[in-house]
């Protein structure tokens, strides 16, 4: 069996990933470490616990904010955006 390639977008730019990968994994392998800015001092955050416990890796997926990038699988056509503060 061969690996299936998934195509989605990250901040409007094409992001490719392997089927089954998380958004966080796809972002890291494309060189993107920043998932969001914080609500209070606007500093950057990336993946931290990697298993859905810490809520640091939040991104906006198909317009819905606060999605944990580390436990959300990439899907074809998904639009992913780094989240600013509490999100849209």
């Amino acid at each position: 069996m061969s690996e299936k390639v998934i195509t989605c977008t990250l901040n409007g730019v094409i992001l490719t990933a392997i089927s089954g990968q998380s958004i966080a994994a796809a972002m890291i392998s494309s060189g993107e470490r920043i998932n969001r800015t914080t609500r209070i001092d606007g500093s950057f955050r990336g993946i931290f616990c990697g298993i859905g416990a810490c809520f640091d890796c939040l991104v906006v997926v198909d317009g819905v904010s606060n999605q944990r990038a580390c436990i959300t699988e990439v899907r074809n056509g998904m639009t992913i955006q780094t989240q600013r503060g509490a999100g849209p």
Binding site: G20, Q21, I28, I47, C49, F55, I71, E73
Partner: protein
């Protein structure tokens, strides 16, 4: 509403083995997990088409596959993956669980309610992180995060990495990363190996573990990576773009205070730093299960010798695996087996004699694994000296962005005396992770007692449900 004779939450080693043992004794079992595949943390893996990588990334993947396939092919076990339990209640007659889950594969998640008289909790643990200046910079993560990126997704967390903290887990993390081509520029264990000296007999009676350790040491040696003992990462540095460029490591004393003047800067693009594990007792707290503070300071579910946490003539809640105290995958497997068989006994599927006969060896094996776990907790203890790594501006609560200085102010100026006061005055622990990351550290920072730690580990809901997620619910 979906009912099942037995429900197991968590499909790691403990939960899978619990489900298998209950089902082998003719119980109808529903196994619920929020992941996409069975395995939990230790046996996290990629889809079948990437099996060759799965085998090379795991020390004992064949064992995982055997258990996973036995569970998947069992006609008495139904598996519900991608289901996050976010609320749970127990009464005299049973347990009700609320999950956010897709009804069919590919669907958007909707709310599903599950009900059972016999619940087995096997929710596992997550890495423990300690605060230090810069621990919130993207690129700093836990060893578990690096491991889950690799085992679950085939992705390395960085090109040039520092791995640090304490505990045996640093070894498999470092060796799997070097094998995948990562340049490990530093591997730092906070404690001295001399701490093993008084436990040599236990080490020698666990040859399997010893060989596993040698296996990792051999891989690291082949890649010329040496573990340095008595060091910790005490600061992380960011580039102008805000991402990790270097860490500062320092020599630390056995009480974890820094030896001033020993600091050294190491360039890296990712750092995996962890201090053992914290059991995930969120569900246990919601269900009102008895909890206690373990020897390592972690709040755990308190169970009897049959893994029962709560029971009456009509219902029971068992707990197994890391949620009853951190002990590794082997101990988790034994505890799971005992919980599954105990459920079968309570359901009248096996007799007391059958229970005794089939558990005799498992009891002995559990005791053996427990002894080893206790030694690990002694060797890799985390003393409170980390409190001198932080500065007033270091965040202690990452979600609500509360600094150590704000916690000091809550204590000194507002008279806060325990975790709850500090929470009310500073919003510490009130963010989305609900104190999972900071709760244990706040108690350590304040130096509070066991009762405070247990109270502080309770969370009103298990996972925050966003309005966005509820809005996706087609039933609303």
């Amino acid at each position: 509403m979906i009912r099942s004779e037995v429900i197991v939450v968590g499909a790691g080693p403990a939960g899978m083995n619990a489900a298998l043992h209950a089902a082998n004794s003719e119980c109808e079992v529903l196994l619920i997990d929020n992941g996409n595949r069975l395995g939990g943390q230790y046996w996290r893996h990629m889809p079948k088409e990437r099996d060759s990588l799965n085998y090379s990334l795991h020390y004992d993947f064949a064992k995982a596959v055997k258990l996973r396939d036995a569970v998947l092919n069992h006609d008495k076990i139904t598996v519900k993956s991608q289901a996050q339990i976010w609320s749970a209640t127990a009464n005299d007659k049973g347990v009700v669980l609320h999950a956010l889950a897709p009804r069919n594969l590919g669907d958007l998640p909707t709310e599903i309610v599950f009900e059972t008289q016999h619940l087995i909790l096997a929710t596992g643990a997550y890495d423990r992180a300690l605060p230090f200046p810069g621990w919130n910079i993207p690129g700093v993560m836990t060893p578990g995060a690096a491991q889950s990126l690799l085992k679950g997704h085939g992705v390395v967390a960085g090109k040039k990495m520092v791995i640090a903290g304490t505990g045996p887990f640093l070894l498999p993390v470092a060796s799997s990363l070097v094998e995948q081509g990562v340049e490990v520029v530093g591997l730092f264990e906070a404690h001295s190996p001399k701490r093993w000296v008084r436990h040599l007999s236990v080490l020698l009676s666990n040859l399997g573990k010893l060989f596993e350790g040698f296996h990792y040491a051999w891989i690291l040696n082949r890649h010329a990576v040496r573990m340095k003992f008595g060091y910790a990462v005490v600061e992380a540095h960011a580039s102008d773009a805000g991402i990790l460029t270097a860490v500062t490591v320092a020599r630390i004393r056995p009480d974890f205070t820094i030896l001033v003047g020993s600091e050294k800067r190491i360039e890296c693009d990712a750092a995996a730093i962890g201090w053992g594990f914290t059991p995930d007792t969120s569900l246990a707290g919601a269900l009102g299960l008895p909890q206690k503070v373990d020897v390592d300071g972690a709040v755990v579910v308190s169970v009897d010798e049959r893994q029962v946490a709560l029971a009456n003539s009509e219902m029971s809640v068992h707990a197994a695996g890391e949620v009853t105290g951190v002990g590794g995958s082997v101990l988790s497997l034994h505890e799971g087996a005992l919980a599954g068989l105990s459920c079968a006994l309570l359901r009248g599927k096996i007799t007391e004699k059958q229970y005794r006969d089939s558990t005799k060896n498992i009891y002995a094996a559990r005791l053996h694994a427990e002894k080893f776990a206790r030694v690990l907790k002694d060797v890799y203890v985390v003393p409170d000296g980390w409190r001198n790594w932080v500065t007033p501006s270091t965040l202690i609560c990452r979600c609500e962005e509360v600094s150590c200085g704000q916690v000091d102010a809550a204590v000194d100026e507002l008279g806060a005396r325990n975790s709850r006061d500090v929470k009310l005055f500073s919003r510490v622990g009130m963010g989305m992770c609900q104190g999972r990351v900071c709760g244990r550290n706040i108690a350590g920072y304040l130096g509070t007692d066991d009762a405070d730690r247990i109270r502080n580990a309770r969370r009103p809901i298990i996972a925050p449900i966003t309005l966005g997620e509820l809005a996706q619910d087609p039933l609303l």
